[in-house]
Subunit: 200 residues, 2 copies
């Protein structure tokens, strides 16, 4: 109950928000404690370091996000529609962040991977792992689309990687241009990569 | 002559190397001065701030890189071969960085854009501008390939953006996986995006 018992969760939320809307390097443990309303001593009770908090915050974010992704990529949904809903969901999430923070904030896992891959191998591995979890959804949808004859790709895992790569590139470009509109290119680019007909 | 007269160049080189191989946020003005062998007072003689140095370092990097890109994208080279050589050049550059720093370091413009887009609008704009300069090469090659009938795309600038986006995504993934081999996917993905035949 109350402020003490949910201190860990408040630290996780504050870390995710602060790092996502700025960068890992620009956010201090003091900043995170201040935003979470948690004393620094308590911080170190929960987490040995800022990196440990970040790792836990990304895992918590994944767990929060997973029911939405499970619904989008449900085998009950026709596979090409899963991909279309996913493209829409990416646009909507970035729009929400843009309205909250005044900036396109990009993907939290990709951001921290891009920033820290050469410096912190635990964070690099976590970023890779989380992005690979996303690929499993894409692989399953692409394999189902292939089986029903909607697309024909030579190699399903390679096609999923290409789609995931294209997403990362576009979300990144959207962030650098600070323009959510860039993400309208996601669905046609995905369809082009899969050799599917692109609606006019 | 000597150490004083090339202090500005040494600061530019040190900033590029340090930021590229780690991140903007993790590198201090002291680190840069120390690596460059330049006193901090001299730093502020040349640059009002770390951000100003970074902006100048990226511009200097572009000027250094430009003759190679001009040669790769020369109108004397058949357009599909330009794209192929460019894919190869991206792999080779990342391999050189990997051998120098022990890590896949990614694209310097994309890295700093991803890290700072929400925090520093001058750096965000510079990253966008430099990435757009790269797009001009791609647009020209794709337009020439279209004119000679090697490919047929509906919209040349959109195709160039898709190829550039795919590059950014792949270079980023290569960095997060710390695996230069990921970049072998670049050429087949580019060909797929352009609807060209992918060699077996």
């Amino acid at each position: 109950m109350g402020r003490t018992s949910d201190a860990r969760e408040r630290l996780l939320d504050a870390a995710l928000d602060l790092i996502w809307s700025s960068s890992y390097g620009s956010v201090s443990v003091d900043d995170i404690c201040s935003q979470a309303g948690v004393k620094k001593g308590s911080f170190y009770h929960f987490f040995p370091s800022k990196a440990d908090l970040a790792l836990a915050a990304y895992e918590a974010h994944w767990e929060q996000k997973r029911p939405l992704l499970d619904a989008i990529f449900s085998p009950q949904v026709p596979p090409m529609e899963r991909l279309s809903r996913w493209c829409q969901s990416v646009r909507e999430s970035q729009q929400v962040l843009f309205e909250k923070f005044g900036h396109v904030c990009g993907c939290p896992y990709a951001n921290v991977g891009a920033e820290l891959a050469t410096q912190d191998d635990r964070i690099r591995c976590k970023s890779e792992e989380l992005l690979n979890r996303g690929l499993r959804y894409l692989e399953s949808a692409i394999a189902d689309a292939q089986r029903e004859g909607s697309i024909h790709v030579a190699d399903v895992p390679a096609a999923a990687r290409a789609v995931g790569t294209c997403l990362m590139g576009l979300v990144f470009r959207s962030k650098v241009q600070n323009d959510v509109g860039v993400l309208r290119e996601l669905e046609p680019t995905v369809l082009q990569l899969l050799g599917a007909a692109v609606p006019a």
